[in-house]
Symmetry: C2
Subunit: 412 residues, 2 copies
Amino acid sequence: MREMGQRARAAARILAATPTAKKAAALHAAAVAIRRAVPQILEANAADTAAGRSNGLSAAMLDRLALDPKRIEGIAAGLDTVAGLPDPVGETIAEWTRPNGLHIARVRVPIGVVGIIFESRPNVTADAGALCLMAGNAAILRPGSEAARSAAAIHAALTEGILAEGLPADCVQLAPTTDRAFVGALLRAEGLVDLVVPRGGKGLVARVQQEARVPVLAHLDGICHVYVDRGADLAMASDIAFNAKMRRTGICGAMETLLLDRAIAAACGPLLARLCEAGCEVRVTEDLLGLDPRLVPARPEDWDTEYLDAILSVATVDGVEGAIAHIAAHGSNHTDSIVTRDAATAERFLDAVDSAIVLWNASTQFADGGEFGFGAEIGISTGRLHARGPVALEGLTTYKYKVRGSGQVRPG
Amino acid sequence: MREMGQRARAAARILAATPTAKKAAALHAAAVAIRRAVPQILEANAADTAAGRSNGLSAAMLDRLALDPKRIEGIAAGLDTVAGLPDPVGETIAEWTRPNGLHIARVRVPIGVVGIIFESRPNVTADAGALCLMAGNAAILRPGSEAARSAAAIHAALTEGILAEGLPADCVQLAPTTDRAFVGALLRAEGLVDLVVPRGGKGLVARVQQEARVPVLAHLDGICHVYVDRGADLAMASDIAFNAKMRRTGICGAMETLLLDRAIAAACGPLLARLCEAGCEVRVTEDLLGLDPRLVPARPEDWDTEYLDAILSVATVDGVEGAIAHIAAHGSNHTDSIVTRDAATAERFLDAVDSAIVLWNASTQFADGGEFGFGAEIGISTGRLHARGPVALEGLTTYKYKVRGSGQVRPG
């Protein structure tokens, strides 16, 4: 680990000074190499999936692990996309001149060395490696053992592109997957690793947060709410709630709890029926049970549960203040939405709900770097510092102050 | 701790929605209360210093602890200054509209609950409390036991101002100083405390970094360099080096190592003589020993030492690249300066030296929030994430995304 970290630091120094065009060219070359290596990647992936099957991996894990030519083309296209993103490095965020003539500029620079710990999705090798590289950071990638061969094959193609542009191979290093102590060493590599990003399930993220001595960009629960206010257009509310829950139930931006303003709760029968008809299990507070025979009673723990499934909890609340109080008590500071035509009520919700993303009249499923226009994302941060919400290239940078003078000394 | 944390969280919710004028009025009222409480503060401080003297506190610690009417007026004036700073909360950092019509705004919001752990300087009670409050954060202050009575007297005045404006007293809470377990609990208060700022010596900061499970805004070593390039105006170099070392030797922005371009090292005798004459012990590489009889040889550990004293290490290096390499090997990523008339050389140094603050033709002693125009500072961060360099109000905030739509749902 120490040796990999030192090599990464040396590569990071070179990358920090590498012009945008060269980083982009390396990623385009890597995309070409990925497309050329489809047979090798498929072969490696077949070995991973076969081993996974005999090791009893779940169907969901096997699906995340599996690659096909279309998914591999998606990986290559992702590299081309990242290569085309605006380079945040070198951007002057702010500048001013002091009365003594000192000119101060706050300039965006790479973070340095970023560790990525992931599980069964082999595409993270390319996605995360590319984002780190484009933001000028050296990456150390640690795939799960179930994806080891696939990750190695993708990494080989990535390295081919990096070397083709004369950049050091150490810009993106692949950690040994067999050494379980490596993750612990990575999480304690103060001075060698500047940031760790866990990409995977709750178990992984919790372990990383528990053990890490280096900063972590973590993404924990997404207990997302939609609040339907008395001022809502109920047809719009139905569309938003349906999309927020059912478009994809397994993503962190999926709605888990629907809050209905008591003033209009009785009119929400059709909305709830629509969810039931689509196969969603709808768990409601007692006062709502009469709205549809398919509704079932919610239990107290429902308000704190991220289902990531076609299950929804529904509560009545007393207006926007009731919604704000419920979200403060049970939310996860991820993404919450209000549906209303009343601008003052909406602004009160946007101000008072303490989440990374707050929406007015839009689905919570927009919680996504691509949907924000970032072109990609390394994750959605539920932490409060450094970066919040969808994180892409800019979140993988920090800044320095460049101060230009003409001989100034400090008096006093 | 749990109870204090919950009270702080509740106060933080109120503070986050408190208008600038009310926060400013509370701080002005606190300044009035401090000025009115001078006798009580002096009495408390006399008890602290008497106890400190009988407990054998060092002269330096006793000096940091001691208050007099002038220092107390400085504390009150500091509150008035912070009250006049621009409020970062609510600022729209960026905004854009997506092709689907969603309007996305990144808006600055408070971090939430900030813990401040400090030692013997009682003024931190007011300074740090005021900065937290003005940035909309609730603060939990934990003074060292040696400053307990002084901190309590200042805190009482601060609370008077807070209550006078109808804000909850829990906006700034003072932790018990006698309970040593409290610091540990504070450092592990995940979910209750969003950020901890240690304000004190290396021992305190190291302990906090070691134990903390919550994010830390830490300030470690300042091994600051001045590099005198072959293109330097040597008179300017002498003034800058002299100021960087001798203006105040005990601050983190003080130069600890002077790097001389080999090409002009022989011409730097007068510069080194000036430092010797001022009482600085100057430890040099062997090639420089002949320049002045008062020079002494440097040992290898000198390059990694933060003296915080009238001691300086001096090395010759091979041009700007040699300086960059020396700083990469021995620097602390804090503050480093180049003296040269050559713009290209200067820009190379500003780009390649990986420090929070890099200066061209100016003294390293400008590493200070006040000198940057921030009006105050909570500390100088040597971490790479969230905030780097001098940190004031803006560094005590984070952001949220406010997304305003008209019924958008996510396709696909």
